[in-house]
């Protein structure tokens, strides 16, 4: 599979395909440009009598081209943090910047457009639409971007080849193994050529072997194409595959001393 990525990315660099050239630029420099920044983000859920502080002044910076994992035990606010980073939700207090733009006050429809264009989601349970084939699942986000059908097909086929499922294009999710489904989901995330891939416990529903394969694939993607990846997980070993690990406890990132204790 990894071999395939290399082949395809090499092929893509040669072609004048938009995806390839964009990605090539993205991988240029690393470490100074911030793609996503959460500044003192609070999320307070009003449950009637009690108020739950899911996030308490969370500060996170995601740099272009990095592979960041946010690790935390359950109940630490991981999912809420992921919602903020993924523009699925807006904070109660504080600001979220995406490519320097404050998205904290945008409407749901604007957020949807931003998500579609800039963020590629990978979920723990794959979240493929069961009614659609692998290819159609990948075409779906492109449909929401009003891309013409021929282009959508071409893109979907390309990314499916890339994740090594060129022979499974017309299979439904329930005809694929967990590992294959997750690869389809990765392909779907890649199809829109996003700024950031956001992976929420990507190995959580997979056996050891498939999980390891998916992690290898993400690492390779990051290494070869310089894709920015943010991964949320509770698993120390999985988190360790990233370039940088932040630890989230009780809705905030802990300091380095505490982090060393946890890791």
């Amino acid at each position: 599979m990894i071999q395939k990525i290399k082949q395809i990315s090499r092929k893509k660099k040669d072609s004048k395909h938009k995806t390839a050239s964009d990605t090539a630029q993205k991988s240029g420099k690393k470490g100074d440009e911030i793609i996503i920044e959460l500044k003192d983000v609070w999320k307070i859920y009003d449950m009637g009598e009690v108020k739950v502080n899911a996030l308490r002044g969370l500060n996170v910076k995601v740099y272009k081209g990095e592979f960041l994992s946010i690790m935390g035990p359950s109940g630490s606010g991981k999912s809420t943090a992921m919602n903020m980073i993924g523009c699925l939700d807006v904070p109660t207090k504080g600001d979220v910047f995406l490519s320097g733009k404050n998205i904290s006050y945008l409407t749901e429809s604007d957020l949807a457009t931003i998500r579609g264009e800039k963020i590629g989601f990978i979920f723990q349970k794959f979240n493929l639409i069961n009614a659609l084939t692998a290819k159609e699942n990948i075409m779906l986000p492109l449909l929401f971007q009003d891309m013409p059908v021929d282009e959508r097909k071409k893109r979907a086929e390309d990314v499916l080849q890339m994740v090594g499922l060129g022979d499974r294009m017309d299979h439904r999710p329930n005809e694929l193994s967990g590992g294959q489904q997750q690869r389809v989901a990765i392909a779907r995330a890649l199809a829109t050529d996003p700024e950031v891939i956001l992976a929420d416990e990507p190995t959580g529903n997979l056996d050891q072997k498939s999980g390891a394969s998916v992690m290898d694939f993400l690492r390779q993607l990051h290494k070869d194409k310089g894709t920015t990846i943010v991964m949320v997980t509770h698993d120390k070993n999985v988190a360790g595959k990233a370039d940088r690990v932040e630890v989230l406890i009780d809705g905030a990132i802990v300091d380095n001393k505490k982090k060393r204790e946890v890791l």
């Binding site: 949807a112 998500r115 979920f123 979240n127 779906l140």
Partner: protein
Amino acid sequence: MIKDYVRLSFFNLKRRRLRSYLTMIGIIIGIAAVISLVGLGEGLRNFVTAQFNIVDADVITVMASGTGNGPPGTGVVNPLTQKQLDRINSVNGVDVAFGRLIQLGDYLFNDKRGFTYIASIPAGEERKIVYDIVDLKTDEGRLLKDGDTLRIMVGSSFKDNDESGKRVEVGSKLEIEGHDFTVVGVLEKKGSFAVDTTIIMNEEIMREIFSEVGDDEYDVIVAKVKDGADMKAVKQDIEKVLRKERDVEVGEEDFSVETPENAVKTLTSTLSAINIFVYIIALISVVVGGIGIMNTMYTSVVERIGDIGTMKAIGARNSDIFVLFFLESGLLGMVGGIAGIILGSGLAYGLAAIAGANLGLDISASVSPMLVILSLLFSFIIGTLAGLLPALQAAKMNPVDALSESR
């Protein structure tokens, strides 16, 4: 782009095939009811119109009737007379008027007795006019001419009279009211029950065999109106003349003066009343069907919260989700409509064929393209209306909440 949404919606319906069919039943029944009943009604109207269309539109028919006063059956019909015919002939606007005898009589053919209308044809110039007005032509043999005694023409339905393998044809002998007649012509099929089952003979011989009919009496007076004359005015003038001649007051007429248009109008208004009733029943059924669709769509939204969350995460705007569910609901309505149209048309044509065969009439249903198009449109609209609220609910769903269903 919309094509993809339609495809996606269609796909979702197909996946829940049984539920989709059950949901559509209300719409199917409603649309099938409209199509079958309106189709049958329209067919019936065409049939009846054909009965009247056998005479030219510029013909007025006068018949004697009971006075309507007193108990039914007691009124003796005061027949039309030669004198009244003469008066009608002199009414302004009447081109020519003549009388005909129409009597119920029995006949014997191949040892089988039948009962039918026997009508007379006047002699001379008037014969041509009758042939012209009713547009009588023969399929076999020839038309009657002056001097034909004991000779008859028969309507086209006599050709079918072959239960024993023997049918009436040119040269067949029929015994009518005790006299032997020879068939000289079989008439072309007119699609009119009255003409197609009638035996026609010359007036002279008819007066002879139906001796109870007075010498100067007629059963029907047919008046051909001059080109360009006002039918209504001529009709009123004839009524006036007859009232005077028969000595009756306005409102107590013991005769009827009918224009073809008049008769068709009466029927049409009756059918319209029936149609309104059908439309109301069908409307109720379709609305109930719509509520069924709404129910299904709400269930569908709840079932697919996870999908909605996923689609929102990967960039679906509220409007995309709305369109998806809205179309799905509209499709449910429309597919139901199509099924209803097929079922309804089948019922209409089937029932018409059965009724036609049993009654020996040439009735066929008539489902117009307009009716089909309107039914389709209506079922689609009901479907989309029913899907409006569920689709809005789906569209407005918070992506975080929706996603939490599948995380």
